[in-house]
Symmetry: C2
Subunit: 208 residues, 2 copies
């Protein structure tokens, strides 16, 4: 007997995503997911061939739903430096408001075996990462685009991953929790490096 309308894959994954983020792959059972969705464990197997497929689909969907703004930034009709600025800003805004995906990936790095990590790299990150390296090639042909891409990602991602500890470090201030402040710092650092001649982050009369 059916009392409720059938669940779509998207709905199932939407429920599973925060569970995997909270407890990791092994920490979440098929029965727990089913319970949260309003199904039985067996029914999940109509939508996904096995637990690992469900898990990978969850990672994929979590990333896809969160990387839309990044794709827009990367393909915007603007000079490469402006696309970089927008990419970093969107990434900061996204990570500021939601740490679910970051936690998913952190857990996967800690617990995943080689085979699954390869699948994650291929199925989740490959496309967006390639787009970022393409931007880097355009932006700084003299620089190693692979290393530069990882640096851009690392600057933003680690900043927000580290937040639970960072906020208790000496010198922490409220404005460091604002995405715009962080994004501006990172963008300036990437474009100009440390050795700013005389300009502070506030003096930019020649821009626009």
């Amino acid at each position: 007997m059916r009392t409720v309308p059938p669940k779509s894959k998207h709905e199932i994954l939407q429920r599973a995503i925060p569970m995997f983020a909270e407890s990791g792959f092994k920490g979440v059972t098929m029965r727990a997911i089913a319970g949260r969705v309003g199904l039985t464990a067996a029914s999940l197997y109509h939508h996904f061939p096995d637990k690992e497929s469900l898990y990978l689909a969850a990672l994929k969907q979590a990333f896809a739903d969160r990387s839309r703004a990044l794709g827009e930034a990367l393909t915007a009709p603007a000079p490469p430096a402006e696309r970089l600025r927008l990419l970093i800003l969107r990434l900061c805004e996204r990570m500021q408001r939601d740490s679910t995906f970051t936690r998913l990936v952190q857990r996967e790095i800690l617990d995943g075996d080689e085979k699954r990590l390869r699948l994650v790299a291929k199925q989740v990150f490959h496309e967006v990462f390639a787009a970022i390296t393409a931007l880097c090639r355009e932006l700084a042909p003299a620089c190693d685009s692979f290393l530069l891409s990882t640096s851009i990602i690392g600057l933003v991602v680690h900043y927000y991953q580290f937040t639970p500890i960072r906020s208790y470090l000496p010198g922490s201030r409220p404005e460091y929790d604002q995405a715009a402040t962080v994004a501006r710092h990172i963008t300036t650092l990437l474009l100009n490096g440390i050795n700013l001649k005389q300009e502070s982050e506030f003096r930019s009369q020649d821009s626009e």
Copy 2:
């Protein structure tokens, strides 16, 4: 009568550190630690008042044993840019060869509650972080030293945390696993930014 010499705190923690890195705070029982050390669980409580104290001491010791080279780099008799270069190189070398501490911290960020994270920030990171911000103030007075410090740490730490996925991303190459290569890239990026005006690997601007 005693058949084995008493264990020092250092020995106990040395055994506990990889266990916490592998399975996190909750994933390691006092009995498991005791078994590894060759003691009973009750004996551990002679050395540490509770599990959390043992855990924090493990984090502290893991970091202290691994941050010695960083302290040397930070206090070297050299100009600030050279100290930065050395700091990054030592950090890369350390993380390249041993991911134990990084995994400890990642697990702590995922699983720790606010109170314990505050203790970690204070007891583990505070001192070294303050030394890095001091270097940043000296190096780049016009730049926000707090944000700059987190960026330096983030560039290195995230690079190595991301290794299990990074190695499967498009464009990955063997030399990216060499600490000297990574350290050089990060140092150059920090000092000069993307827009390399004059650099060793520099190519003259081609026509568009």
